[in-house]
């Protein structure tokens, strides 16, 4: 087909059993360390063109006119497309609400919105041609927060909304509102000996995956298109892409290219439709690769939030009630805002037992950048606030903050504010005990180097800003509550095709799913599951594509649970068919074929007593068993729109952190020394990968505590720092040691008892660091990230 870098099968055999519970190595590891692994930005095709997106330079404006003539006349330019060139009546897309224009139609609603597309023979030619497109904007007033969005006469982001949330929101600039009411918070407040309230602000965080949005669209002879792309959910993309192109879904063939991280930022479409439009228009393959500047405009961010909380407690340390109001800024388009509201509200109580609650969460439409999914998804913002509250209440009561949390910790059997009973282990108090019991890192480590301080161990580091003067230490704790899987009644299934055959005398399993491997290690786990269930060593993982049924999203800590569950389920079906063949061929030779529990182990059919009945090679000979099945976890329910009641979640996930920080109080510089985590993972299918997820999630939580924030000008709604020079990510120098303590308390409802793990550590990391900085400085610090000026008061 002429495509360089299209994904191929990955084969992996192991000398060990290589099943679940072992730290088998990544099957794509060798390709990734040799530079041969093809990411979506590595795709290449002879004769390919480069696509470029022209984006709005203002946040809110009417487009008076667009003149593309000069751009079209540029040598090397093959196409320039605007809204008028869209081929069908479907001109919008969206995850839940189709409110996002493929290209702006007469109006732009946020800074960086796509307005026009260019295809040219060199990326620089495309960029320069795009710069020659003349757009006449008439600027409109911007709404940037709750007050301006709901003020009388405020401009409406989406006039004439007809989505299914409009009937229950108090204002058309509110995407969705979810109250959750249980008991009587006002009456319970009367029993409280102390009442503590606070307002908290959570900044806008970027996923900052390293592999930029990119892909290659290749037009095909049947009028369709082959699209190689990095995404989190191929079939969700397909459902949104095909109608805009006017093609049936089977003519848009999608293959997952190498994905350079995701963290929620690839749930929404970016360049997918644009590349296809240019490819179909020009009849040539078109590659689009965002640079980092464009990437900041090319995907949604984590919702910034304002949160108000009130907690009460009795003198003996029992929480009486909680009230809260969470306002999430969804920006110009809906993206995942409704589901983020569902999470923020239903998890707003945190991992605590509080019978009387009054919760409200809303997401706004504003002219700020669109916000949607990011690791932790609504639960992160709430955790930052309720954990700050826990420390305040404990301080008010004169109690130890960990003991106070343990006294109120939820456990198996706890009734949540939604009325859902937590029906699997919830070791909240134990996780806190474990991080607290860990020995503290030594004081004044910078002195361990000898006569001269090692400035690398100090706040400010190699900038050599202190030798220990003004440096104080603080310790903080936090614990969080996250859901696993898609909630609120969503049909959250996955599909797996598993094939078993004998190749070269050896049984081989082939696993084919549409799961997006984004770095998490799903491919490793699929091979392990196939080995465990089918008793083979050799496993082939086929590239993820839309030739097989949907795997759902690589989001919500769900893939090992759901697609892992689907692989397990299909393997079980394959095993049954293999055993049936065995009974047919060999059943008369040994009574155990009919009477015993049979397993596949070490390439053989064995009884549960360990007796070998046959080689798989002899059972299968030249027959192949091939099964494709959908698999579902137990269903969930929508939350009642008025009371928030409903069994909305599949599973819960818990992590706790202890942060140790050192703060240069004179300069306001923070060094996080250690960020210890304890997490219950149910069952660690691959312990090495589990640690990697927990450590990576922990560091992303630290990032939003002390440095990461997209700054949006409140007057213009324009993004001020869309680059890695100005949006700061933790480097290895900023990173503390991250010791991890893993519990494995099985959830009997889940495959192998596993628990989704990817997100929980991102919740508690942030408030633990904030608590430690408060402990070091005595400052209140109600916003995150903390910047030097917040610590020095300058």
């Amino acid at each position: 087909m002429g495509v360089t870098g299209s994904p191929t099968n990955i084969n992996q055999g192991t000398r060990t059993k290589g099943g679940i519970g072992e730290s088998t190595l990544r099957p794509d590891g060798i390709l990734k360390v040799t530079g041969e692994f093809a990411y979506s930005s590595d795709m290449w095709h002879e004769d390919m063109l480069w696509g470029h997106t022209l984006r709005s330079t203002v946040a809110h404006a009417e487009i008076v006119s667009i003149d593309t003539s000069e751009a079209l006349a540029t040598s090397g330019v093959y196409a320039v497309l605007t809204y008028d060139d869209l081929p069908t009546a479907v001109k919008n897309y969206g995850l839940e609400i189709q409110d996002t224009p493929v290209l702006a139609h007469g109006r732009v609603r946020h800074h960086g919105e796509p307005v026009a597309l260019v295809a040219a023979d060199h990326p620089e030619t495309a960029r320069r041609a795009a710069a020659k497109i003349r757009i006449d904007y008439r600027e409109l007033p911007v709404v940037t927060d709750e007050a301006s969005a709901t003020a009388p006469g405020a401009p409406l982001l989406h006039e004439g909304r007809d989505d299914h949330h409009i009937g229950h929101v108090p204002h058309p600039n509110i995407v969705h509102r979810q109250p959750i009411v249980r008991g009587d918070a006002e009456a319970a407040k009367a029993r409280a000996d102390v009442v503590v309230s606070g307002e908290y602000v959570f900044g806008m965080q970027d996923q900052a995956f390293l592999g930029p949005e990119s892909g290659l669209a290749v037009p095909s002879e049947d009028g369709g298109v082959d699209l190689y792309v990095a995404t989190q959910w191929l079939h969700s993309d397909l459902r949104q892409i095909a109608p805009v192109l006017g093609l049936p879904e089977d003519k848009v063939r999608m293959t997952l290219s190498g994905v350079g991280g995701a963290f929620g930022g690839r749930e929404d479409l970016s360049m997918q439709i644009h590349a296809c439009l240019l490819a179909l228009r020009t009849g040539k393959p078109v590659k689009i690769v965002y640079n980092r500047f464009e990437s900041f405009f090319g995907h949604v961010h984590r919702h910034p939030a304002k949160l108000w909380y009130e907690h009460g407690a009795t003198r003996d340390g029992k929480l009486t009630h909680m009230k809260c109001r969470i306002v999430l800024d969804g920006g110009a388009y809906a993206s995942a805002s409704p589901a983020v509201v569902g999470n923020a509200s239903s998890l707003a109580v945190g991992p605590y037992v509080i019978d009387d609650v009054d919760i409200e969460a809303v997401a706004l439409y504003t002219n700020n950048p669109p916000c949607g999914a990011m690791r932790g998804f609504g639960a992160v913002q709430a955790c930052f606030a309720y954990e700050a509250q826990m420390d305040k209440v404990a301080a008010e009561l004169g109690m130890d903050p960990v003991e106070f949390r343990q006294l109120n910790a939820m456990e198996q059997g706890t009734l949540l504010p939604t009325g859902q009973v937590v029906d699997s282990p919830a070791p909240v108090a134990e996780l806190l005990r474990r991080v607290k019991a860990r020995p503290l890192p030594p004081e004044r480590q910078w002195e361990s180097a000898g006569e001269h301080p090692d400035v690398r161990a100090l706040p400010g580091g190699l900038s050599n800003t202190t030798h220990g003067e003004g440096v104080v230490r603080g310790i903080g704790y936090a614990v969080g509550l996250k859901n696993v899987g898609f909630s609120e009644g969503f049909d959250d299934y996955s599909t797996a095709r598993v094939r078993m055959e004998v190749i070269g005398g050896e049984p081989v399993a082939t696993v084919h799913t549409a799961m997006a491997e984004v770095g998490q290690g799903g491919v490793t786990v699929h091979a392990q599951i196939a080995r465990t269930e089918l008793g083979v060593s050799q496993v082939t993982i086929r590239p993820a594509d839309t030739a097989v049924g949907s795997a759902g999203s690589t989001s919500a800590s769900r893939q090992t649970y759901v697609t892992g569950g689907a692989v397990k389920n299909s393997c079980e079906a394959v095993r049954e068919q293999v055993l049936e063949i065995g009974r047919r061929k060999f059943g008369t030779y040994h009574p155990a074929w009919a009477t015993a529990e049979l397993l596949l182990e070490g390439g053989k059919v064995v009884t549960d007593g360990g007796e070998v009945l046959a080689d798989l090679a002899d059972v299968l000979e030249d027959e192949a068993v091939d099964v494709e099945l959908e698999w579902r976890h137990r269903p969930t329910e929508a939350f009642d729109l008025r009371t928030g009641q409903g069994n909305g979640h599949v599973q819960y996930s818990f992590a706790a952190h202890r942060a140790v920080v050192e703060v240069d109080t004179e300069l306001g510089l923070v060094k996080v020394i250690e960020l210890a985590c304890a997490q219950d993972v149910g069952k660690a299918l691959n312990p090495l990968s589990v640690l990697g997820q927990i450590q990576g999630g922990t560091l992303q939580g630290m990032g939003i505590a002390v440095m990461e924030e997209i700054i949006v000008d409140p007057k213009t709604a324009k993004v001020r720092n869309p680059s890695f020079t100005d949006y700061l990510l933790p480097t290895i120098l900023d990173t503390p040691t991250i010791p991890v303590d893993v519990l494995e308390l099985a959830d009997d409802h889940a495959p192998y008892g596993l628990r989704g793990i990817g997100e929980a550590p991102t919740l508690s990391s942030t408030p633990a660091v904030l608590a430690a900085i408060r402990n070091a400085t005595g400052l209140e610090l109600n916003r995150t990230p903390v910047r030097p000026e917040h610590l020095t008061g300058t």
Binding site: T4, G5, S23, L25, R26, D28, G29, I30, K32, V33, T34, G35, E36, F37, A38, Y39, S41, D42, W44, E124, A208, F209, L210, G211, P212, G258, G260, G261, A262, F263, V289, N291, R292, D454, R456, A457, L462, V518, G519, Q520, G521, L688, S689, L691, G692, Q695, G696, G697, L699, Q700, S723, F724, T725, L729, T731, I732, L733, T735, T737, I738
Partner: protein, 197 residues
């Protein structure tokens, strides 16, 4: 313009290079070597790190024309580069901490021809193997740059302290791992080299 330089021991020539193209662009789009990555293209993330006459550089910040006649090593050539160094400096090389590969040595080095056969893990450089074994690879987008940088660190400093590792790798962003497993990988590679002395 036409640009000639040596990549991984082989002479390469690129025609019709626009003067604004970076070394990274020419490697990725004109020479079929996309292993060096394009995460920020402004010298902040280190994912495009290559050796230029032995010195680690962000290839996104080097104009292609600046490389005329010079020597480049990318992740694709790292295993052969390390094997050659190991032959030139048996054991770990020099204990002085100043055993970098000289330009002269680099110029005498030639890559082995690449075949189609399945790669055996034995053909990886020690740092590549250590990254796999330690679980330092998740999405892998930062990996090529980190490998080049970590390999150069161990060449200079075969027994780095944790602070040394953090300092040497501070120009390479990773968003997946929290860096712990990357530290483990470098420690592992250093320890394994120590065992072979």
């Amino acid at each position: 313009m036409r640009v000639n330089f040596t990549v991984n021991g082989r002479r390469h020539e690129a025609d019709d290079v626009w003067e604004g193209e970076s070394l990274l662009y020419v490697l990725r789009e004109r020479m079929g070597l996309p292993g060096s990555k394009n995460a920020c293209e402004q010298g902040e993330c280190g994912s495009c790190t290559v050796r230029l006459d032995g010195v680690p550089v962000c290839s996104c910040l080097v104009a292609a024309g600046q490389v005329e006649g010079r020597e480049v090593v990318t992740v694709e050539g790292l295993a052969d580069f390390a094997a050659h160094r190991s032959e030139a400096h048996p054991g770990t090389g020099c204990a002085s901490g100043a055993c970098g590969t000289t330009v002269d040595q680099a110029q005498r080095w030639k890559a082995k021809p690449t075949g189609e056969e399945t790669r055996d893990t034995g053909e990886l450089s020690p740092i590549q193997q250590a990254f796999i074994d330690a679980g330092a690879v998740q999405c892998g987008f930062c990996t090529p740059g980190l490998l080049v940088a970590a390999d150069e660190l161990l060449e200079r400093n075969p027994e780095p302290s944790d602070a040394d590792i953090r300092e040497a790798l501070s120009g390479n962003l990773c968003r997946c791992t929290g860096y712990e497993k990357i530290l483990d990988a470098v420690r592992l590679a250093a320890a394994r080299a120590d065992e072979t002395v």
